[in-house]
Symmetry: D3
Subunit: 235 residues, 6 copies
């Protein structure tokens, strides 16, 4: 039924390769099927002005797509400015990652997570959150090794997956052909078995609470698989 | 328990005054407590390029806040460009309103809904959706009166409300003092008793599916009250 | 002779409602016929850099129009930047208000006056100056009540009116139908019976000194009426 | 009394050199004392969209200052965008020049007048209007010579001068030391002995109608001298 | 003598992996030591306006760096606009690639080459040209296979290398530690054994024609090695 | 053979007039044939942030063209932002001038050189460098006269000329008709008989090392003539 031949509750193959750039304090290349995102974490000892002398840390994210990450070439945002969609996604990534951080334990410093989509096939924001957490964790491990951070500010992984109603059925982890047809889809972010963010949207359709429950079931299943992959990646 | 003394499942007073500007094809001033939003609907016989010769209509929205709509004066976006938050909100309003439109019945024309916040006290995006639908409906009534539209493209009202967890309790229709303290809050958009959009977010917290269900119960109650006010306003 | 049926030297009905927003230190909604402008005054204890440690205060203004304040919807300036016309108007408002301020008495603080046009029917810049002064006065009254300012820095009201040559006759307080047809029009700003600013412009026409004198006579009459309304509004 | 030693009703030396660039259809370098402005006129056979197929011509102007035209180097507008002041000035120049054009006689084409200040010592907008008219006239002469225009669309020269109240006295043609001290100053644009534009402004002062009349007397005298120089320049 | 231990005339290891993205008509990942650039070629059947109906093709390039491609994180250009350096580089890449294209044979279509630096260690513009040509060639091969292009418009590879004077010696293929210390460096672009572009620059130094000749000798050696790698990559 | 009738190794007439503006610390109007550039040097006692407390000086340059400096009017960069070409040129001018400066001798201050093209006929960047050095030198002479600088930080003039292959022949100092036809052209910057910058480019052509040597011979001849003119100008 699904274009890819997957079961309705079947994730795409996930791989997370770490240490992929020589410069960043933490980095990984996450592949969720054909969606490939390069995530790097940069430690910055300065915090944004509103946190000066607060003792609290900060995590923020930026998101981008290479112009030909998609089937049809997109205009380069460096020439045209960030779209509303891009800004919305990077706000979501930052908010999601922060929800899994003990900002006191992190101490007054900032970590910037860059998520750049090398190849897109649906679910880039979810892959960015999942891979972004891995990059963040690796950077934090460096801070703990050097003694700059004592208590681990990252307890449980933060991971995200999309679910939607495709051809009348609830399906897990939409790829682009599904995403572009689905009347209802959602992004779910969880940590430690609990929810952080739920974003469900219908365009030209509606959904019931029962359907929403079904999607949440799928999301829980998918996220537990992603969490395993994250923990394996960060050792 | 709530700063305003309201019950946990109690909405703020809602009023919707229509016909508030002499120029727009549809308009209203919606007041949800101290949150006041001026909504206007403009009929434009041209559609965006991707809909040319499709026979389909379009509804889009723009959102703004007067600089001193808030307690602390904000920088004027006309001087600094729209923030990511503003863009995110106006995308939500447009998507929500479109979900309640029969675009074939509307015919190949566009309606632009402007939502401008005159005074803010929490829940401006929800008030914009609820009031925006009223302005849209009034503009459509004009098109039907003139015979330009035959079948009503707007069947059920689209309305939105926020809910959140404040001081450990699920509460309906957060005002600003609650919103700025709540660790979890969400915006819920419904039409005809079904969901269109759910956006739940935690900053520095998490939530369970049980809590989410509680918030959905509250949202359903609030939205049914808003729908009554909308129907009364559009006669 | 005039589209509205007014006498050549007759103002539109003026009303000034104060205290219209809960947040601003001073505010009013001024209605000059169908032109409605919301004016708010914000006290900012910081002055612009060039006044640091000067002991002198500052008053500045910003101006905007809601996109559907006009008959034809205008593009939102938050998306496109402020037009030259908008910048010219807000410079005029700021300059006019400052001309009526004793900047030593105000002390080293800034008051920002926002003038946002809710509905436009000609004469928006003049209504902004007249209403802006009322909002400014109310904010200053607050500073005097709290003892932060001792001597009133605002002696006489600053008010403005437009006049022009319509259908060959000098007329007072042009509405939009007149303004769009007038070959010559002008804006006049006065305080305490004296002039602060005169801006007369011809597009596709010229004018004599005699005609100019006639317009000044009308302006004086109109401004004295506006001043009464201002004084009534600020008690 | 004046820093330059001039009489109160004495203009600075004016010179207008024509044909100063090899490319433009009309050009001049106007010097009003130490204020030097290079004016060029470019004929463009396309008109702005709102004039397509109207048979009417258009004249527009752009204004700029070289960064070190002033005593203190200004930031380059190509890097920072045009200031509000620049936009206000170029709107004034365009409006003033158009007031002296028979747009039917010009025919459906546009002439763009560029006024670039090489050296500034007060009065740059007035010098731009006066010199801009000369460049415009030279371009029109070319169109008449080639037979593209039959009836001269420029009858009387358009010229401008500033006047103000300096050290308590009405003075003609303010230079920068006067301009920066004057509490009241104005710019006056005339054609054929009649007024086109009057812009009087007080910063930290007021003025009476009697004072205004005195400034208008000075302006008439100055403009008649400028007009002679313009007519001599265009032969 | 060199930080990397290389001989003065020794290139870094070069690898070119093709077909690295599923969407682009041509793509490769070129690695010149630790400098990694992802190059994609997009076929666009529309040409820029100035080539409409000319029968001539066009090749253009865009260049970017991921924010953490460098040792110190750079600001994201999507948020801040393209720097002068970025624009200069992408103009160089486009010009260089066009110099190796028979634009008649290509036919009236455009190929856009995107060069995005994943990891930087000096020489990113040269790697972009060398890898960009490979992506371009692969896209052209697709056009030839489909019969849309008959005669190969790309005869000889276009390749580029940097050389400079480091610690008093002429060295080939500077890495970042060398590049940041070299007083003189240059970029050389060649095709078919001939030069297309030479850019030599001294900052705080000068160079003689003899030194320049030495650098050209090195460049010729390096480019012949790059050309072999290019030909191997495109089969 | 050349459109101008010049010999292949013949420069255009060069004149350098100094002291052309009353405000700048150093200024000249350089004319290379019909290419006229106004160069001013501004002394700024503040250095860019990265040089604070370094004891080192800085020289930077900005470049612009009046809109009608060219045959066809260009869009004003103040309205549209600086083009890539403009940024590339001003970076070249700044880099070239800095190469001839002893930054220790200059002391911790900045000199900004503005090069504004009044009339263009090819070679504007070279004229800007040559004239820019003169303006810079005059400003430095002022600093030495006042005792703010003790040792002259400018030993040898920096000058630049373009050469290219036109109609199959190497020619010196291309004017616009040659420049727009030449398949290969280059800009050469020298000081004290040595090279600082070489930029050779082919569009739709290639060149050999022998041809390049021929162009360098021409450049050396041209630059020695420019250097004489510079030295005469600065006395």
């Amino acid at each position: 039924m699904r274009p890819s031949g997957r079961q309705t509750n079947e994730m795409r193959a996930v791989s997370i390769e770490t240490g992929v750039t020589m410069h960043a304090e933490g980095s990984c290349l996450i592949k969720c099927g054909n969606t490939h995102v390069l995530c790097t974490a940069t430690i910055d000892e300065r915090v944004p002005p509103f946190l000066k002398n607060s003792g609290l840390g900060w995590v923020t994210a930026e998101y981008g797509m290479l112009p030909r990450a998609t089937n049809k070439r997109m205009r380069r945002e460096a020439k045209n400015g960030q779209s509303g969609r891009t800004q919305e996604i990077q706000r979501l990534i930052g908010r999601s990652l922060r929800a899994g951080v003990d900002r006191v334990a992190l101490g007054e410093r900032q970590i910037v997570v860059d998520c750049d989509v090398i190849q897109a096939d649906g679910g880039t924001r979810c892959a960015s959150i999942t891979g972004g957490w891995v990059a963040l964790k690796l950077a934090v491990q460096k801070l703990m090794k050097s003694g700059d951070v004592i208590t681990d500010p990252l307890v449980d992984p933060v991971a995200a997956v999309s679910c939607g109603i495709y051809a009348g059925q609830n399906v897990l982890d939409l790829d682009y052909p599904e995403d572009s047809e689905a009347g209802v889809d959602g992004n779910f972010v969880m940590t430690g078995g609990k929810l952080i963010e739920v974003q469900m949207s219908a365009e030209g359709a509606t959904f019931t609470r029962t359907q929403m429950d079904g999607l949440l079931d799928l999301a829980e299943k998918g996220i537990s698989e992603l969490t395993e992959a994250q923990l394996a990646a960060v050792g």
